[in-house]
Amino acid sequence: MTPQEPPPRTRRQELAREWMKAVYSTTYVPMSSTEIELYLLDLVDVIADAIQAEPFSAEPVGAVGDRMVSAHFTGLETLQRTVEVLGHALLFTPELAGVDRLAEKVVAILGALAARFATAMRLDAFDQQEEIKWALLQAKQGVERTLKLSEARFHEVFGSSALGIAITGLDGTVIEANDAMAAILGGDGDLVGESLLARFHPDDTHVLTESYRGVREGVVDRFREQHRLIRSDGEPAWVYLAVSLLRDADGEPAYHVTMVEDVSELHLMQKNLDFLLLHDSLTGLSNRQHFITQLEAVHSRSERGITLYHLDLDSFSLINNGLGHATGDRLLKQTAQRLTAVVAGENTVVARIGGDEFAIVVDNSATTPGVTTMIDMINDELAEPTFVDDRGVALTASIGVLDRPSRDWTVGELLRAANMTLHRAKAKGKRQWLPYDPHEDSRHRTWADVAASMPGALENGEIEVDFQPVVALADRTVVGVAAQLRWGTWGHRQCLELAEETGLSLPVGQWMLRHAGELVARWREDAELATVPLHVSLGPMQSRDEDLVGAVKRTLDETGLPVSELRISLNTRAVLTGGGDDNVQVLADSGISTGLTAFHGGQDELALLTELPITSVTIAGADVRRLAAEPDRDSLLHNAMAALVSVVHRAGVTVVATGVASEDEAAWWAAIGADAAQGEFFAPPLTADEVTGLFHRN
């Protein structure tokens, strides 16, 4: 469309200008008016040439319609004005005056132009519609892509975040949680469906519920607080929480987003700081101040009692002065390590509580070695020489031991006692140790240990039943055998006490009854043996056993022991205070001879003899020993006992004395009319094998 010299065909030029003027304001063509004129002039040429051509064809004019559309001569009135201008000009221009059948040709030409124009417009509109719809589709896909990208970005952040993120429903149910969240909680990662609130420390739940509500109700946009989460292993994790709200498309609250930052490490750092304040910098052991609080804690919560060792390294000042402080420090560190190693398996605190003083508190367990074993281990460990400049240096220590002090001792008393004992030990020389109170402590220790292992012993058959002969005082014949528990060196009384303490009383009682009943029943089947009735004495709890009657009947049924061959004595207190009295009644109703043990003879006890079908009473062992300890046979107590026996007899009840230890005692009990007795004087508890020896008829 380069500008050119106006051609000589000025009429065509004029026509192009008229055409331009006619259509210029009907549409926007991005050209100057001159350019438009020139563009249209080309089209005028096509039309004028066509009209003059022989033979005539309107076909070339079709291109004019195409070119008008492609140059955007497409306004609403553009075609109409084009037809007006061209129609008038073609019909009346002098240049075309000689054309044959002009009007016919003009109509044909304008028709062809209009037809092609219309077709081109249609196609153009289709194209453009297609383009814009494609763009619409792209745009929508773009939005979706953006959405997907955004979602992908979210998931990237969600997935790779070091912050734990959980999205929960408004009820706290986890809808989605990321790996970091799972890691903080230490679980298998699948929190979905769980309640997030349940993962918080119970103490924090109430406050947190309120905070979540505040966010949900729009009181606050978000909250940021520090709380404890509970890991899957039950350990707490300190976290910072940031909680905010997600709304749905309608702006209604839909989800909570909980972001969790694990700040346990900060707490660890805090702990480290605490560690520095509470520990000896040289050895890393607790310092004195820390030890005092730890000792207090261990002492107050210990179940089996603590043992406190207070150690002082012998002649350590000589080492420090002779070998130098560096060596001294090295030995102190080593001592700390060795002491820690000695007690490694125990629940202990090892502390350095002075320059060359150490302390160990052991919270005793069933398996904790005894004090002497522990002392040996400490001494052995310290005796191992450390080489300093090729010279072996071995340390020794003096040790004061406070074993199982009473729970009500204060920490101050504990430390003072241990320290005092240490000084007593040091006074004896090097490498010495002393217990604070050996008798009391060792007794207590053994007792507790035995009680703890009783269940196992019962199961393993370590507990046995012995039989102590019951002797008629009148003729010294054996009239019965009393079943007695024995467990190692522990006798019947201790076994019953242990059983009562450990809650094993009922099974032990029933077991004893059953076991002894079986033995006696078996002996009865042996024609060689002349057996005597079995006496079974029960402890307080056993006497109240609601299943006692059932157990007795089962024993009789299953062993075949006749009712006449069994005497059961119930604890007097248990019968007095309820529970036991029913048992006495029902046993007696079943034909079993029933007595009372641990009988003291008080008014209330005597009343029982009139109320219940009692056949015998057994005088409490403590009362028997008290009488034995009183040499004056005419004492108040002796007279009272004599009177008691007489009173009991009047009720038709026999009297048995236990724990009779001498001929004198036996004679006295016989003299006051007691019916039978048992005790070391007559025979100790015998094993099953031993007791059968007594029964041989020959």
Binding site: V29, P30, H72, A135, A139, L147, F154, I167
Partner: protein, 266 residues
């Protein structure tokens, strides 16, 4: 879970848009029935709307050619809309084939269409940004490699700022563009006004409220104020057909609807 609510909804493709309406008024086919329906309503309140569109488009062409005459070889067309007849790069290339053009629009369909039209064109590109965030626009435009801020830029804000509400700081945005471009740069601007035909413009404002692009007409003084920091070239800020017309006007300038002008940064 369903995370669809996490992102802002995409541009609403359902509402009529000013760009497609403009295309229709220019006789284009890049529009939807909703656009055409609204355009017909517009023609009721402003029968001259087609002429206004044509004059505005014609002003764009003349302004581009004027700037090329002044030595501008790159254009930043803010709010370029739907590519339609007489796009800047087409007009400019007929005068200067090496001219580079960066189009800026925010609307998804306009951007998608522009991208397609320009896909094979190494000297023209479209960036999808909001023209009221000039820093982002300039960054994105520079990233195309087509815009060199050290050289004069032809800034085009043709029939677009009247879609920027009075609460958004159109003048402030223009100031950022002005400060960013080299001296020798030009600003061409056309803007709807109620000064010339208050009744018709009020009708246009009402009709366009139902489009995605409500109109905020501004006074002559306000439009002139957009040229702060530019020297407005002759004939100044005038009704759009009166800006350097190429032939004797056959239209009443009072019905132009828009003021137009070109400024030069010294």
């Amino acid at each position: 879970m369903e995370l669809a609510n996490w992102v802002p909804a995409g541009s609403d493709t359902g509402l009529p848009s000013a760009a497609r309406l403009y295309d229709y008024l220019l006789g284009g086919g890049h529009n939807f029935a909703a656009d055409r329906a609204l355009a017909e309503e517009l023609l009721v309140v402003e029968p001259n709307a087609r002429a206004i569109a044509r004059h505005n488009r014609s002003f764009l062409r003349r302004a581009v050619l004027y700037m090329i005459d002044q030595g501008v070889q790159q254009f930043l067309d803010l709010g370029s809309g739907i590519p339609t007849v007489g796009n800047v790069h087409e007009v400019a290339r007929r005068a200067a084939p090496e001219t580079r053009v960066v189009y800026v629009d925010f609307e998804d369909i306009a951007v998608a269409h522009s991208r397609r039209i320009l896909a094979a064109d190494p000297l023209a590109a479209i960036v999808q940004e909001d023209l009221t965030e000039p820093t982002a626009v300039l960054d994105a435009a520079s990233r195309t490699g087509l815009l060199d801020l050290a050289e004069p830029v032809g800034l085009l804000a043709v029939s677009v700022l009247h879609f920027v509400s009075s609460t958004a700081d159109a003048a402030g945005a223009l100031g950022v563009y002005r400060d960013a471009v080299a001296s020798g740069s030009h600003l061409a601007l056309s803007h709807a006004t109620a000064d010339l035909q208050p009744v018709e413009m009020a009708g246009i404002v009402e009709v366009m409220k139902r489009s995605a692009n409500p109109v905020f007409p501004r006074s002559h003084a306000e439009v002139h104020g957009f040229f702060l920091g530019f020297d407005v070239v002759d004939p100044g800020v005038v009704p759009v057909p009166r800006w350097r017309p190429e032939r004797a006007a056959d239209d009443d300038p009072a019905s132009a609807g828009l003021f137009a002008g070109v400024g030069h940064k010294g």
